[in-house]
């Protein structure tokens, strides 16, 4: 892995402090800055694990037709799929094309939604990737339009469709009785279950011995929740119309009985058997023959709004139009927190050598840090705010999280590496449009003719590795970017990833001087001297790459 910095969202933990970077839970709690949101109301970072997601619109990913949300909800749609002419190849999942009976001239197809009226019926669906063809499985169409409607007749009369309809009827009363769950997120953190989930899990606990042990909700309910009458509503048994047992006794293919054996005995090529992947989305027992695969509906995609899980303010609200990439509301963390990037001067030097020697596409490689050595590294901070900020860094001590208050007793366990960072706060200038953009006449030209800071900055590398005084501290300030130098001392016994947690605190001028809220953990104590200044702190994990050992024989073993 190449060096990088990720940001912490504390939603997965009960403390504001992140897990140690070597723990598996660490990667789940840290995110790239561009994947994070920021709630101004709560003054907190939010991530895709904790935001509440709402569908704000549906569209077909193939014909891009926008389907009104109301009709998706109301219609007994086929699993919310495109109701026009869009189908997926059951064999390779490519989009199918409608073709007339005249065989297509070698790759001469149209863009699916624009149907070429020319051509002879019957029409069929054709895959221009794997050459699957619906005529081979007995599906043809009289007209090249309204295919979904034409196919619907077959689909509706399929036994599993009828069964599904009956199931829905059976559960309808309970769905209606439950408090509205519509529109509220894929997951909310509400501790209580709705009655349907409760009924389903109690049924499961009843029918499958031992399962209740793994369902904390079911357990707690049986102990204390008896009085909740909503949950007391038991759903009566459902009698399936299609008996799985009847099929397995041998009438149908896929039941594992005689017909399957017979089919397998007469196989000529392995392609005659549909793969598990191809049959995975089908219900119950399905034929193992690839010749029985049917064209698949294309599920709709959705545009999503996102809300803060705590205060419910909207963080993301896309524009209505399906293919628009603009947003009415977009509160992303990148507009609030400094963007931090890490680089290793010794690796950059090696890379520059490779590129100069003609390997223009050379990429940074890992495993360039040797155990027992000391390396400088650079962290550059880019300020997105229109005001200057002061940043202070703090390396989280590498101790097990179980004993956070006993650093002294942990002395025996020597950390595998030591990080040195500037201890003083350092400034980053304000963001100004002129620095970022743009455009034609032009910052790049200015830069080239001007002071040539780029070269300057390159020159730091070799100098730093000798003169220690220049390694740690502020190395460069340019526009709204400040670059600082740090140093890592790797012990001889160190192995594995060079990762450490770093707390970043930045002080900025607040527009609205409001009273401090002591309840928010990420906000530090009030800055009493200057009431209009505020400090926001967040954790990051800095990954400097992988440590390799000097002995070349064991390098081979490791890699």
């Amino acid at each position: 892995m190449s060096p990088g910095v990720e940001y912490y969202c504390p939603c997965q933990a009960s403390t504001p402090h992140p897990p140690q970077p070597n723990l598996a839970s660490s990667s789940y709690s840290f995110h790239a800055l561009h994947n994070l949101y920021f709630c101004e109301e709560c003054d907190a970072i939010r991530c895709n694990h904790c935001v509440m997601v709402e569908v704000s619109g549906y569209y077909c990913p193939n014909c891009l037709f926008e389907v009104p949300s109301a009709s998706v909800r109301a219609e007994k749609t086929r699993y919310q799929s495109c109701a026009r002419n869009c189908f997926m190849c059951p064999s390779c999942s490519n989009t199918l094309t409608v073709v007339p009976s005249d065989p297509p001239d070698n790759g001469d197809e149209r863009i699916p939604p624009t149907i070429n009226a020319a051509g002879e019926p019957p029409f069929f669906l054709y895959c221009n990737h794997c050459r699957w063809d619906s005529a081979e499985v007995g599906i043809t169409f009289e007209k090249p339009t309204g295919l979904a409607a034409q196919l619907q007749k077959f689909e509706d009369s399929a036994p599993e469709s009828l069964e599904f309809e009956r199931l829905k009827e059976h559960f309808e009363p309970y769905l209606r009785a439950s408090p509205s769950t519509s529109g509220n997120g894929l997951h909310t953190h509400s501790p209580h279950m709705n009655p349907i989930t409760a009924a389903a899990s109690s049924a499961l606990a009843r029918d499958i011995p031992g399962v209740a042990r793994y369902m904390p909700h079911a357990l707690s309910r049986s102990r204390s929740g008896r009085d909740k009458n909503a949950n007391r509503q038991e759903v009566p048994d459902y009698r399936a119309r299609v008996e799985i047992g009847a099929i397995t006794t041998g009438y149908a293919l896929g039941g594992g009985a005689e017909p399957d054996v017979e089919f397998m005995r007469h196989l000529e090529t392995v392609e005659e058997v549909a793969t598990l992947d191809q049959r995975w989305g089908n219900s119950w027992v399905t034929s193992p023959r690839s010749i029985d695969l049917k064209p698949l509906r294309i599920p709709l995609h959705s545009k999503k709004s996102k809300r803060c899980p705590t205060c419910r303010h909207i963080l993301i609200k896309p524009e209505q139009k399906a293919q628009s990439v603009r947003y009415k509301i977009k509160l992303v963390a990148a507009n609030y927190l400094p963007a931090i990037t890490v680089s290793l001067p010794h690796m950059q030097a090696a890379l520059a050598m490779l590129r100069r020697s003609g390997r223009a596409n050379a990429e940074p490689q890992d495993g360039t840090m040797l155990a027992g050595k000391t390396y400088p590294f650079h962290l550059s901070f880019q300020n997105p705010l229109y005001d200057p900020i002061q940043v202070r860094l703090h390396v989280q001590r590498a101790i097990p999280p179980t004993q956070p208050n006993a650093p002294e007793t942990e002395k025996a366990r020597r950390p595998p590496f030591a990080i040195t960072l500037p201890t003083q706060a350092f400034p980053i200038a304000a963001f100004a449009e002129a620095w970022e953009y743009d455009d034609d006449e032009d910052m790049f030209g200015l830069e080239g003719e001007g002071e040539g800071e780029d070269e300057d900055f390159d020159a730091h590398g070799p100098k730093d590795s000798r003169g220690k005084s220049r390694t740690v501290g502020v190395l460069e300030r340019r526009a709204n970017v400040t670059m600082i130098g740090g140093e890592v001392m790797i012990s001889k016994e160190a192995r594995g990833d060079m990762k450490f947690n770093m707390l970043v605190s930045y002080t900025y001028r607040s527009d609205d001087p409001e009273p401090e809220e002591p309840s928010t953990p990420s906000r530090s104590q009030a800055q009493h001297k200057q009431p209009e200044m505020k400090t926001f702190s967040f954790y990051t994990v800095v990954d400097l790459g992988t440590i390799i050992v000097r002995d070349t024989s064991s390098v081979d073993l490791d890699s």
């Binding site: 490519n94 863009i111 221009n128 628009s324 520059a352 223009a360 790049f444 900055f457 390159d458």
Partner: protein, 195 residues
């Protein structure tokens, strides 16, 4: 990072609008090709502006917007089909801030803006790629595929993998601009360089 990507100065021609075209790229039918400015055509790329619709007059075959990159060894070829008995080529339109990785073959009809296409991909004929989409390395997109905005595709055939983040537009724009500003003639390769 901010580190420059050097090329030998003699290897690229820079136009008035800042396009940088490799002398080792093949630009067929240049009169039918439009480059929006600050677009880079890398070594060994082949752009077939010569494959134009039959008939009189001037025709734009391939147009690329600003801050695009056609990677090393890429082939950009307009899509073609036989319609009502006539064989014809159709134009290819590419938006701004589009990066195409090395050795990818593109026969798309339309590529939006802020699109990233990986290395070693095949983008089939008449494919439509909407804004802020991303195609992973080694993906094969069959002909006529539609790739919605803000979606990422991978595999063979290419399938939808996941939604792109909401900040994709800003990220890709920053990436393409940074790439262009870092793409510099090697100061060591020519005596005429400043300093």
């Amino acid at each position: 990072m901010d580190h420059p990507i050097y090329y030998p100065k003699s290897e690229y021609i820079e136009t008035d609008t800042g396009n940088k075209v490799s002398r080792r790229a093949t630009i067929a039918g240049p009169q039918n090709i439009i480059l929006g400015g600050k677009t880079i055509i890398a070594n060994g790329a082949i752009i077939r502006g010569d494959l134009r619709r039959t008939g009189p007059g001037h025709a734009v075959v391939i147009s690329l917007g600003r801050y695009c990159l056609v990677g090393e060894g890429c082939i950009m070829r307009p899509p073609y089909k036989t319609y009502r008995g006539n064989f014809n080529y159709y134009p290819m339109k590419v938006g701004d801030h589009v990066h195409i990785g090395a050795n990818t073959v593109v026969e798309a009809a339309q590529i939006g803006s802020h699109v990233e296409i990986g290395k070693n991909c095949v983008i089939g004929k008449f494919t439509i790629i909407k804004d802020c989409a991303k195609i992973a390395d080694n993906t094969v997109i069959p002909p006529n595929t539609v790739i919605p905005a803000l979606s990422s595709f991978a595999g063979s055939p290419g399938r939808f993998v996941e939604d792109m983040p909401e900040s994709t537009q800003e990220m890709v724009e920053a990436m393409t601009k940074s790439y262009y500003s870092r793409f510099q003639p090697d100061p060591g390769s020519a005596a005429t360089q400043q300093r």
